[in-house]
């Protein structure tokens, strides 16, 4: 299961990288978002997927699942959600101000 999830994370990172390398700003933002999801999946997978019962005192089993990666991934998802929201607004504002979302035209000139 871990191997499969690692491959899925790898595919997500590949898609993310591909989109980041494109010229349209919106594709870059979505690419970064998918890239983050790949990283999050990796974080969850690396610690080992479900190995036992829920980590509660009342559960009467010997093995428990490690709760820490889930706390970490939650934090990381919230952060990347906020960043994506900010980035989308910034992208829209850039489109309004500069009139383009093509990265080649956003290179800028030296005389500004």
């Amino acid at each position: 299961m871990e191997t499969f999830m690692t491959i899925v994370a790898g595919i997500l990172l590949t898609i993310g990288t591909y989109l980041v390398l494109s010229r349209s700003l919106l594709r870059i933002i979505l690419g970064l978002s998918i890239f983050s999801h790949g990283a999050h999946l990796m974080l969850l997978t690396m610690a080992g997927l479900k190995q036992g019962a829920a980590p509660l005192v009342g559960e009467q089993t010997g093995t428990y699942t490690d709760p820490l990666p889930q706390a970490l991934i939650l934090t990381s998802i919230v952060i990347s959600f906020a960043l994506t929201a900010f980035f989308l607004v910034l992208g829209y504002r850039t489109y309004v101000e500069l009139g383009t979302d093509d990265m080649r035209e956003l290179r800028g000139e030296n005389d500004e």
Binding site: G38, A39, L43, A47, L72, S76, L83, F86, G108
Partner: protein, 493 residues
Amino acid sequence: MNNLVVFPILLPLLSGISMFFFRDRIRLQRKVAVNGLLATLAVSLILVGMIAQNGVQVLHIGGWEAPFGITLVADMFAALLLTTASIVSLACLIYAFHSTDEAREKFYTYPFLMLLVCGVNGSFLTGDLFNLFVFYEVMLIASYVLLSLGGSKIQLRETIKYIAINIVASMLFVIAIAYLYAVVGTLNMAHLSERVAEIGQDGVITTISLLFLLVFGLKASLFLYFWLPGSYSAPPPAIAAIFAALLTKVGIYSIIRMFTLVFYHHPEVTHTIMIWLAALTMILGAIGAIAHWDVKKILNYNVIVSVGFIVFGIGLSHADALSGALFYLLHDMIAKALIFILGGAMISIAGTHNLREISGLISHHPALGWLFFLVALALAGIPPLSGFVGKVMILQGGVEKQFYSVVVISLITSLMVLYSVMKIFINGFWGETILSEEEEKSTGRGILIPGSILAALIILLGIGADWAMVYVEQAVEVLVNPSIYINAVFTQP
């Protein structure tokens, strides 16, 4: 347990949040911001005193003991950086009062400045790797806002690049944390150090450490600096000054922390790579600094050169060189803030950042000119100013470890740095005065208070180097003996 440790995070955070509630009352905001930073400075100084007497101070948040809860650790290294960061941000804040336009002030410049300081201080204090990532994000989100605030074309364009680079770096950070957690099963730094020492730093862990070096290198602009010259020239001068003084330094702090506390077992691999990356950074940065005729670009490339030099000191893994690197780090925070403030003032007076169009400013602004001259000498490491001591110690370490070629590179690049800042001084301040006082775009007032505070510190640090070295050596003692740090985290109740 020492509750004082959390205050350098809490004070900027609370004063920053409280300012959101009175957006239009700029005078009140200024007072709150200054008082918040003064209080942070006071707490940092008390912490330095306590650590000098009683050793490393630890706070287990919520009473959850390490390694289960999140730990805040204030060792001398962190406390010195906290103190310097508070002074530097205070100076930049005072300069921001004069250089920021009213629209930006009304749209939360000061609250975000405080949140930025909160993130920086948190990164210095945290003893948990994932928590370090979170504080990085606090700092970065505040920096995204400060960078794009105002919405001019160049700002929007540069913010896009800056955010994209930083999101990729942050996600690589998460992946590196995931790998490390998979191998050693903990994220508390003291616990990490113990476990890595127990199982030995094998090939897998060394590879992970190189991934961390890549991540921190992106943040500190170690070799991967291509984003820096553009994005640091976009924001208003006071913001650029605080970015140059603090943001890359947090990356350097993380490199020092991780590679002295956790990944110190194979310096022949990790630290050698670091040294050669540092050498390349210095060369490329110095070439950038002498190639440009744009005040902002020259100063930005200077940031890169000094990052290379400090990382060279770290990579030598030699106690004296590490003291030198630490001393130079403190010096560089102050000097970079000062030179960015002065450069910003030059640009706002002349109304252009093209050096060819600036001339003869010294006739109307003697104080600005001489302060610039002073900090230019300090950057190049002329005694008795503060850059000298650190530079000598790092170079001595380099000679002892027989990295002669890198020593030569650092000497040549510091000459190139001197040339690049003298180019600004000679072209900008000497020569024919082309602007009369009425034609100037701004008065350039407002640099005098922050400028003289920072300049006094540069002179004091240089002359009183022996006195400062006592504290720096205490900091290095903890860095070279990770057991002191580990014991403090695990034995303090």
